[in-house]
């Protein structure tokens, strides 16, 4: 069932869709997202370490990307991704969400999720290329670097005459770093028009609310001043995410890079993980995992 649905969804985006088709797909996407959330909880619980909070807030976006918006070929995995949309994860600590989505969309066996953070795993604590896990094109974990990498990918596509897109996700706390602003300045100043970037705008980072740790102020105004078109949506509403991604695509190929502010909630989908930063990087106990899983429908079969 997992594989069938995964396959169906992966290729759904390739054919032009009617409104009714989209609606159907949205339900499917929500189902996948529920399974991804289960995977996240189970992986972090299994490893007794990892980052559930941001993984849960970004899950819907990653599902929308890999199962709806992106044109990509999970197998055979090709590092260069010529004529494919390419995704770069900047906030590498949400690897559980990333790995689940990659596995569920066919990059590697779903069963491998069980090896997360174990010795010799291909599913390193933070995404890595050294172990050659299909789907990963760059290591991340040290924050602030992903958008720069995405620009490089986008420039290679331009040279290659490849008109597919480059996607990049960043955390909101991650924007405290200077490097994303170097990258944003590059994109705005050079009218990079084949990137869709997004921020998991969950207003939380390790030590607390972004407003307490390092206020982001009017983030939209900042990014716009750096020369970007900025879209906003509820990043935990699948329909909003899918349609905003559609709008974002229409902004590509024009004058400006486009950024989506995904208004999300850290810990989304697990009641006791929401409304707090405490689950940024903490693993649930057996009991807590059970409580969390009870809130998340198993839709594609647990690994």
């Amino acid at each position: 069932m997992a594989d069938q649905l995964a396959k169906k969804c992966t290729f759904a985006s390739i054919t032009k869709q009617k409104k009714s088709k989209i609606m159907a797909t949205i339900d499917e996407l929500k189902e996948i997202a529920s399974q991804v959330r289960r995977d996240i909880i189970r992986m972090v619980h299994g490893a007794a370490s990892g980052h559930p909070g941001g993984s849960l807030s970004a899950a819907d976006y990653l599902v929308a990307l890999y199962f709806e918006s992106m044109q990509h070929t999970p197998e055979p995995f090709d590092m260069d991704g010529i004529n494919q949309d390419i995704f770069i994860l900047s906030n590498g600590h949400i690897s559980p969400a990333y790995y689940s989505v990659l596995a569920r969309s066919g990059y590697f066996p779903v069963s491998e999720l069980a090896t997360f953070r174990q010795l010799h795993t291909r599913l390193q604590g933070h995404p890595a290329t050294m172990e050659k896990l299909p789907g990963i094109r760059i290591a991340s974990g040290s924050l602030g670097q992903g958008l720069s990498v995405a620009i490089g990918v986008s420039r290679a596509k331009k040279i290659n005459g490849d008109n597919k897109l480059v996607y990049c996700l960043m955390g909101d706390g991650e924007l405290d770093e200077g490097q994303p602003w170097e990258a944003m300045a590059y994109c705005g100043g050079n009218k990079v028009n084949n990137i869709i970037a997004a921020v998991d705008y969950n207003h939380k980072q390790i030590d607390g609310d972004t407003d307490d740790v390092m206020p982001l102020l009017d983030l939209k105004a900042k990014i716009e001043a750096f020369g970007w078109d900025v879209l906003e949506c509820n990043g935990n509403d699948m329909e909003a995410v899918v349609s905003t991604l559609q709008i974002a695509k229409e902004h590509t190929g024009k004058e400006k890079p486009v950024m989506i502010l995904l208004h999300t909630q850290m810990g989304m989908g697990v009641d006791f993980m929401m409304g707090t930063h405490k689950w940024h990087g903490a693993a649930p106990s057996d009991e807590q995992a059970e409580k969390a899983l009870a809130q998340l429908k198993e839709t594609l079969g647990d690994y």
Partner: protein, 316 residues
């Protein structure tokens, strides 16, 4: 003297406790953190001395610059973040605004080395000693347990000048008596011996002590030297021991290239060239795993020191 396990504690907690006491004792001490207060065990300081604590968010470069600026006005700033983000992320900032400017900044770095564990290689810096020792004027300290880390934390506040203080994440054996004298730049001979000198720093000191016990059983009498201050290196202590034993094994949780081992080899090559073996990570990135699994996998255990000692003695 025989060292016993007093308890199991993380060295970073030694830092946190030392910093908190400094906060009470020395008004000039201020602290900065880049969104990792809990991991660095800086909570007590942050909560008790809010006016002397600066949360800088995930902006390590800005943190180093701010720390340098705080010295202008007489403060003694302690910065806190993971070792990788304390060094490799901000080397140029440390270089210009701290080391070359001669500022009294204490760069305090947790989660050093592979014992950081599950987070994996992007966080497991094994090059920070190489980087920090290459900076003129920088003092580089890597204490071995909770007590020594606390001692070191307090000692560097009284020392005027840039310091890099490196410590770790997992709970490890505490074995240094809390009242053992700690002096920056002075090696500690933990056990005397005549056949081989084991020179160890950080988490590897406990392994070296165990290795010495294991060697004893094989009839090999090892001297164990705890180098907590990698720079300035206590050349006298090293040479004194080496002249006695005639061979050396170094042990560190760091890349074999650029670390304590190479510092010692450089010293010996210029003075008394003797056979040496180095127990260190063999020029590889780390990976996810439990701290102990990784120590085993990368060959940083007591038994590896034993093997190295046996090998080096044959080469005398």
């Amino acid at each position: 003297m025989k060292y016993k396990v007093l308890n199991y504690k993380d060295t970073r907690s030694g830092f946190g406790e030392g910093l908190f006491e400094l906060g009470q004792e020395n008004e000039k001490v201020v602290a900065l953190c880049a969104d990792l207060i809990g991991s660095l065990k800086m909570n007590a300081f942050a909560e008790t001395f809010p006016d002397r604590f600066f949360q800088v968010g995930i902006a390590e470069a800005n943190m180093i610059g701010m720390a340098a600026g705080l010295t202008i006005g007489g403060k003694i700033p302690f910065t806190g973040t993971f070792a990788n983000f304390s060094t490799s992320r901000v080397y140029d900032q440390i270089r210009q605004a701290v080391a070359y400017s001669g500022k009294n900044v204490k760069i305090c770095a947790s989660h050093a080395g592979i014992t950081l564990g599950e987070d994996g290689a992007t966080h497991q810096v094994l090059e920070d000693i190489a980087m920090m020792k290459a900076l003129p004027g920088m003092t580089v300290i890597n204490p071995c347990d909770f007590n020594q880390t606390k001692q070191a934390t307090k000692a560097i506040a009284d020392y005027e000048g840039p310091v890099y203080l490196r410590f770790g994440r997992p709970k490890v054996a505490t074995f240094i008596p809390y009242d053992m004298p700690f002096e920056i730049g002075k090696a500690i001979v933990l056990k005397e011996g005549t056949d081989v000198t084991l020179i160890a720093t950080g988490h590897l000191v406990w392994e070296a002590l165990n290795a010495a016990d294991m060697l004893e059983e094989k009839g090999i009498n090892a001297e164990v030297v705890n180098i907590h201050t990698i720079k300035p290196l206590d050349e006298e202590a090293v040479l004194k021991s080496v002249k006695k034993t005639g061979c050396v094994v170094t042990a560190e949780e760091h890349n074999v290239l650029g670390g304590l081992g190479e510092s010692i080899s450089g010293l010996l090559a210029r003075t008394v060239p003797v056979p040496m073996e180095m127990v260190a990570v063999n020029d590889a990135f780390g990976q996810s795993g439990k701290p102990d699994e990784l120590m085993e996998l990368y060959g940083l255990k007591d038994k590896n020191i034993v093997e190295a000692a046996q090998k080096v003695i044959v080469r005398k």
